[in-house]
Amino acid sequence: MKYAIAAIALSVSCSAFAADPLTFDFKDPKGVNNVVFKLDAPLESINGTANGISGSVTLDPENPQQTTGKIVVETKSLTVPNPMMLEHLLGDGWLDAAKYPEISFEVKEILGAKKDGDSGTADVKGTFTLKGVSKELTVPAKVTYLPGKLADRTGGQLQGDLLVIRAKFQIKRSDFGIKPGEHLDKVSDDIELSLSIAGAAPKKS
């Protein structure tokens, strides 16, 4: 009986110290989180950014293969320096921001996760949705877990952890039905996307 009680006590204490998955919220009112997109066509290069980022990722730092989540970019937040180009970009001929207000990536599977201290790399398999069309993509990502750094970011108002995700990948606009085969001399079919985002997981008091 004594050994049974000791065994139960040991398992309870072990589970208390095991890491619970943390949910990181990527909504950033400061506008630091951003996606950079680049199109390099023979006659024109287009560079733009988007910072209307939201979504969440649930991660167990001890078990990164179990990561789930979804990152959402508000289509209206995409911007390019030229106002005329921006009007076309968001218009119904191209991204149709009014009809398709969100661009998203939903995590399905983590492959080849490698940890190096509080950082790690992995291939993230998921569903990328753009202009209402969803495609399976595998994206290489670098993740940095910053325990206790939320206080530094919020001036001490909140305690918690940060998760920084960096990813760079390429898509083809034709795969998502965005004027396939048209204007290739000025608007490249290949779009390079660079994601730099930080999510916060406040500690529950």
Partner: protein, 91 residues
């Protein structure tokens, strides 16, 4: 009447040079932007906690080459008009 035209011509020439000089000075002192006029600038920053590179938009008027061109063209037209009037006044 002759004096009025002469005065007009001198005013046009002087005004033309003034407009030309003012436009060039305004454009040069605003950063000599070789692109189109901008109404904002992007300041690149790095977040000290996450080390994420991002841009902050700051509203600022920066004249571009089309304003420079319009000022030079307008000033030149005034100067030319004044010279033409002066030449026509000569006996």
């Amino acid at each position: 009447m002759k004096n009025a035209f002469r005065s007009l011509a001198i005013a046009l020439i002087a005004g033309g040079f003034l407009a030309l000089a003012a436009t060039v000075a305004f454009w040069a002192l605003s950063g000599a932007n070789s692109g189109w006029t901008k109404t904002y600038v992007e300041i690149h920053k790095i977040d000290p906690i996450t080390e994420i590179a991002y841009s902050e938009r700051v509203e600022r008027f920066i004249p571009g080459v089309e304003i420079l061109g319009a000022g030079i063209l307008g000033g030149s037209v005034c100067i030319l008009a004044g010279v033409v009037i002066l030449k026509r006044q000569k006996p």
